[in-house]
């Protein structure tokens, strides 16, 4: 697996870096709002951002389909959600494009962007993506379906059924596992029998690769190759990105209760964002000044997004019964 990727331009990478920063800044802001009692519930992507954005950058938002999961806050930005839109979900406002405030934030959906509405349930998106992949194969327009999930989700029967179906029918699907080694409090050894998630692929006769999730270029290359296979009609791939969960599972959880303090401190020191910045600087694509001004710009965006989302209207109580059925 190469750690660089010649297909990427400087602009693309800087754009991705901006998205990563936006995700982090928005997330930090959400925690401030949470502590202030203004936001009820957050699932943080902290530690996953680089892998998520690297993966989406290898695909075609608006053309491809994306079945995201609740931790895909950074991926959602990469798919085209704006900071303001994500803040609208956080505040459960009527204008939340995913669900109009009906679902907890993290269940992303936007028809025009190809982001398929998810649920909070762990796993069901995996065979659903196989079905979407089948449809895309029939349509033969070169689109593929990307589906992401944690390593905990791989324990569900639906993981197996989805991979088996997609592999049999060579559906253009990328199964992207963000393995942070924890499913809430359950560590990988109690979750995933055997060597790891990537090794499950061979049983289905499909490629399975493991990448360092903090290496933007490695993740991007793995997804790009899987995308090429998918678009060439060679079927699905399984990618396991090793990432860190730098926050507790959610704002309802405190991982210090079940994780080792030394390990937590060691992981905190391995934040993938500084690593990405360094890689860009080494390439001469980013200077300290450019980074600083980018961060300022991102801060301003986030500020604006927060203000306008906070000021936005709540759903009308009378809309409760709408969209249960088409006619309602």
């Amino acid at each position: 697996m190469p750690t660089d990727d010649r297909t990427l331009t400087r602009e693309q990478v800087l754009d991705a870096y901006r998205t990563v920063l936006r995700a982090r800044t928005l997330d930090d802001r959400r925690f401030v709002l949470n502590r202030a009692g203004k936001l009820a519930f957050i699932i943080s992507p902290r530690g996953h951002e680089v892998a998520q954005v690297a993966a989406i950058t290898a695909l075609q938002p608006g053309g491809d389909r994306f079945c995201l999961y609740y931790r895909n806050f950074a991926a959602a930005l990469a798919c085209g959600f704006t900071p303001e839109e994500l803040m609208l979900s956080a505040f459960a406002r009527a204008a939340d494009p995913s669900s109009g405030g009906r679902q907890t934030p993290g269940n992303f959906g936007s028809r025009r962007r190809g982001v398929i509405i998810g649920s909070s349930t762990v796993g069901p998106q995996i065979p659903k993506a196989a079905g979407i992949g089948l449809a895309l194969k029939w349509k033969a327009e070169g689109a593929l379906c990307y589906v992401s999930f944690g390593e905990g989700a791989t324990s569900q029967g639906d993981f197996h059924e989805g991979l088996n179906f997609a592999a049999i029918h060579r559906c253009p699907v990328i199964f992207f596992c963000e393995n942070n080694r924890w499913a809430i409090s359950v560590p990988q050894p109690l979750q995933v029998a055997g060597p790891g998630v990537a090794e499950r692929a061979a049983g289905y006769g499909i490629p399975g690769v493991r990448v360092h999730g903090d290496d933007f270029f490695a993740v991007h290359a793995a997804v790009r190759q899987a995308a090429e296979r998918a678009r060439a009609g060679d079927g699905p791939s399984l990618i396991e990105a090793e990432v860190l969960r730098l926050q507790s599972h959610s704002t309802d959880d405190d991982q210090r209760a079940y994780r080792d303090a030394v390990e937590l401190a060691a992981e905190a020191a391995r934040d993938p964002i500084p690593r990405m910045r360094e890689a860009l600087m080494q390439r001469g694509w980013l200077t300290a000044e450019a980074d600083a001004s980018l961060r300022e710009e991102v801060n301003r965006d986030v500020e604006r997004a927060t203000e306008s989302a906070e000021a936005a209207a709540d759903p009308e109580p009378g809309s409760l019964g709408r969209h249960v059925y088409a006619d309602a």
Binding site: R102, S110, T121, G131, E161, F165
Partner: protein
């Protein structure tokens, strides 16, 4: 011009055939639906006609069958997924209840999930505990789903065509005991389509209303003839669609008869008949001369294989007639 005579399973097949001819987004998936044409022959010949893409044999995995159907729906196809038996829809329960039923609601109307899940339901064919269950109550409790359970060839055809055209997910349960029971003239094309949510008046009567559906329709008709011999005329309403169900037609009938029994094949406790009975008891309170009665199968897991036990389990015209008489004589 005489219309062709069809039994219920042929009518199902005809509906699939016609809808696939009409709209090339319609496709079929499930276990053994292809070359074999389904274990009950409901998809016979369709793969030969429409090819292995539009009539797809899936792996033996109901959760993925429902999930794939949903994926197809989200991409604009109209999937008709078969669960080989309604008893085997349970591995797909999460996909149906948490995913399919809630797509439209949870996306605030941005996405829809029009698809049909067909499954043979009910007992009476020596299928024993795992090929005889009547699980309609589970699906009727789920906002976002529609549930159809027809009892005649023409209703099966007309409602399956409607279900395929419906913008929302439909659970379509087919009483397997009736698959080859009787033939009936069945129309085709647009004229055959029936509206969902409209009950049918099976038999007019003055003394007592029986609200029923599925295989129990035929049993209730036989029971009603016995009561007729005693001068008691039963009005029989076949709901056909369970969610939404046609409460107004039932109320109109009860306002006339003053008495009602709900006859259903599922286990009594918590069956869909409880919903019907509760609603009618409330809405018809002032018209009722007798309590709303439920005539249903006993609360044992399902129909056993042994014929004497099967007989003991299953409602038949005698048992239903007894139940109806009790209501009439209250």
């Amino acid at each position: 011009m005489r219309m062709p005579e069809r039994n219920l399973v042929q009518a199902v097949r005809d509906a699939l055939y016609e809808e696939m001819e009409r709209d090339d987004r319609v496709c079929i998936l499930g276990e053994d639906v292809g070359r074999k044409g389904g274990v009950f022959k409901a998809t016979e010949g369709l793969q030969q006609r429409f090819g292995p893409q539009r009539v797809l044999d899936t792996p033996l995995a109901e959760s993925s069958i429902a999930a794939v159907a949903q994926g197809l729906a989200l991409e604009g196809f109209l999937a008709v997924a078969e669960m080989q038996f309604a008893d085997y829809s349970f591995p797909a329960f999460n996909q149906i209840v948490n995913e399919i039923a809630k797509v439209r609601y949870r996306s605030n109307g941005d996405f829809a999930c029009p698809l049909v899940i067909r499954a043979p339901t009910g007992g009476g064919v020596r299928g024993a505990l795992y090929h005889s269950q009547s699980p309609e109550a589970f699906y009727c409790h789920v906002p976002g789903l529609k549930v159809v359970l027809p009892s005649t060839p023409a209703d099966a055809k007309g409602l399956l065509k409607a279900a395929i055209r419906d913008p929302d997910p439909v659970i379509f349960l087919e009483p397997k005991k009736l698959y080859r029971a009787e033939r009936q003239e069945v129309g085709d094309g647009e004229a055959a389509v029936l509206p969902m949510g409209v009950a049918s008046l099976v038999r007019p009567g003055t003394d007592l209303t029986a609200v029923t559906y599925g295989y129990m329709r035929a049993v209730t008709v036989q029971a009603a003839s016995r009561l007729s011999a005693d001068g008691i005329e039963v009005e029989i309403i076949d709901l056909r669609t369970l969610r939404p169900w046609d409460v107004e037609s039932c109320i109109r009938s009860i306002e006339k008869t003053g008495r009602v029994a709900v006859v259903y094949e599922a286990n009594r406790t918590g069956g869909f008949g409880a919903e019907v009975a509760a609603e009618l008891a409330e809405r018809c309170f002032a018209s009722l001369d007798a309590p709303v009665s439920r005539i249903a199968s006993p609360d044992v897991p399902a129909m056993p294989f042994s014929p004497p036990l099967e007989h003991a389990f299953m409602l038949n015209p005698d048992k239903v007639a007894d139940g109806l008489r009790r209501v009439a004589r209250y």
